[in-house]
């Protein structure tokens, strides 16, 4: 009996020792300390992605989608030969175009892709696939791209916006103000997103604001108004900011020749030019000068001046001479033999372009009557315009 009890106790002891050794030396998995580096890495990747999304990807996508939408709307106004009624209509159609690439087409055909709408209106367009403004470039497509890429390559489930949201829920606002200046536009959007990375999740709603240049977009004021009487012939002018820091006779010639845009508080802003609402803009008014050599203007009668050759004056009705009959030819520019024969300024423009007073040599820079009444002869003009003698189409050769 004593022997069987000893055996029993030794057996139990053996089992206990084996169990202790087993528990002590078998490597355990699922230890939190072992998991910490990979968890930290996952969270870092997800955090970097969220930051990149908010600060870089969305603003960049907003900028390109907005630029392309504005470009497309300029083309739409051109083929439709009509500006948008007012700012509200512009905002609505811009939001649709920028967000989805589709608009309520002015031809009454309902909601269409912008390219299809343009092609349906334009008799010269056979296939909408030959033009691209918003196809594949709209904001929602960009968001869908980043959602897919994040899911496939970073294993992050991303949802941008809300599946129930309409375009209006994104609060898209296109604007120009003192922050953008005259040569840029701004766009605001409300962005709601959720990013889930398994162990972590981000939910946020932020306001994204982006300012962009509209350089290279056709001015709808030219596109639409030149197709109306009395010109009745399409002429387009792409927006380019003038690189001129001060005004004088030669820089005025350069501005006419280049048809670039400069700031003028009495002019309409670039966004206002998409609408029939022709109003001055203190912060963002612009103007370009009418180039009679490039544009198909009606015949000009010498001595008869009936418009100021500033675009918003020429195409609008806000700019009568401050006194009846007070329009002026420019010396050396509005000449019989000149490219810009018939060019005229009102008194206000003479002043803003520094042409209302005699120059440093005491020469008068404006006149009325016939071209022969120019106070400066060819020799004097050649001397006054020497600085631009190397420009293409310069009025006088270099001496």
């Amino acid at each position: 009996m004593a022997i069987s009890k000893k055996g029993f106790y030794f057996t139990i002891l053996g089992i206990l020792i084996v169990t202790v050794l087993f528990v002590a030396f078998v490597p355990l998995s699922g230890n939190l300390k072992d998991k910490t580096p990979s968890v930290r890495s996952r969270v870092t990747v997800a955090d970097d992605f969220v930051e990149t999304l908010k600060t870089s990807y969305v603003p960049m996508a907003l900028r390109t989608s907005s630029y392309n939408a504005l470009n497309g709307l300029s083309e739409l106004a051109k083929v439709n030969k009509q500006l948008f009624a007012d700012s509200a209509e512009l905002q609505a159609i811009f939001a649709d175009a920028m967000m989805t690439g589709s608009v309520t087409c002015p031809d009454g055909g309902g909601i269409k892709e912008l390219e299809t709408c343009i092609c349906d209106i334009d008799p010269g367009c056979a296939d909408p696939n030959t033009i691209t403004f918003m196809r594949g470039r709209d904001f929602k497509s960009r968001m869908a791209d980043i959602e897919t890429t994040a899911e496939q390559h970073l294993q992050l489930t991303t949802e941008i916006g809300d599946s129930s949201w309409q375009v209006s829920d994104w609060n898209v606002k296109l604007y120009q103000n003192s922050d953008t200046g005259a040569f840029q536009a701004g766009v605001n959007i409300t962005l709601k997103f959720a990013v889930a990375g398994g162990i972590s999740r981000w939910d946020d709603t932020v306001e994204i604001q982006e300012i962009f240049s509209f350089e290279g977009i056709e001015d709808p004021l030219y596109s639409v108004k030149t197709q109306q009487p009395p010109i009745d012939s399409l002429y387009t002018n792409k927006f380019r900011a003038a690189n001129l820091t001060h005004w004088n006779l030669t820089n005025t010639w350069l501005a006419i020749n280049g048809q670039n845009y400069s700031y003028n508080a009495k002019g309409a802003s670039f966004l206002a030019r998409f609408t029939e609402a022709d109003e001055p803009s203190e912060c963002c008014g612009i103007e370009s000068l009418i180039n009679a050599d490039a544009m198909p203007l009606p015949p000009i009668t010498e001595g008869v001046m009936d418009a100021t050759y500033s675009d918003w004056c020429y195409f609008g009705s806000r700019c009568p001479p401050d006194t009846d009959g007070e329009l002026w030819y420019l010396t050396c520019i509005s000449r019989q033999t000149g490219k810009f024969k018939g060019f005229a300024f009102d008194t206000a423009h003479l002043s803003s372009y520094n042409l209302s007073r005699p120059d440093q040599e005491g020469r008068t820079l404006f006149y009325q009557g016939m071209y022969a009444d120019d106070p400066n002869d060819d020799a004097q003009c050649a001397n006054m315009m020497q600085i631009i003698c190397n420009e293409a189409g310069a009025p006088y050769p270099c001496s």
């Binding site: 069987s4 055996g7 057996t11 053996g14 089992i15 084996v18 050794l21 087993f22 030396f25 078998v26 490597p27 580096p37 890495s41 870092t44 990747v45 970097d48 992605f49 990149t52 870089s56 990807y57 960049m60 996508a61 900028r63 390109t64 989608s65 630029y67 392309n68 470009n71 470039r137 960009r142 791209d145 980043i146 890429t149 994040a150 390559h153 970073l154 962009f212 240049s213 350089e215 290279g216």
Partner: protein
Amino acid sequence: MAKRGQYFTIDAFVAMLVVATGLVLVLALNTYQPSTAQPEVLSQEFVNTLAQVKIKEMNNPFVAQQLKGGNITNPDNTLLQQVYEYYSYFDSFLTGCSPSNPCHGFDPVTYTNMSAELLASVAKDLVPAQYSYEILVDGVPLNSRGTGQQEAKVLISSKRIIFGIVNKSVEFWGPIVVEVRIWQ
């Protein structure tokens, strides 16, 4: 006899337990988990550097030459953005052209490997010599150093999403995935 049988049966189970425990201990001792801390940090920092450093911030002879030659039009591009622009607007654009008939005015011998050359000029100094690496852009390996990727005991991969704009505000490219693999 019955009691003896019980004891012998219990002993057999105990013996099996001891043998099994011994085997587990022997096998567990042979298990080796290599350290991944340094390659992991290196991989992350490498891809972050490529994704954040801008062309204008670089002091590199190849980059300076490209800036001077006008092949880099936007010095605010990051390295990876510039690599992708080279890849899509030079390398693939000129595929199929011959040295005797340069395409679009660009000599294909000079211009069909721009993305790889840019990576080669900057990446080699960012990774310590004892590590090998490979850089893939949109799934295409553009630059690498070292061999033995398949046999490596530790291979760390880091990914970044890149995107950009060309032609001012008109053309948006991306999102593209860049992957960096580091091994030793």
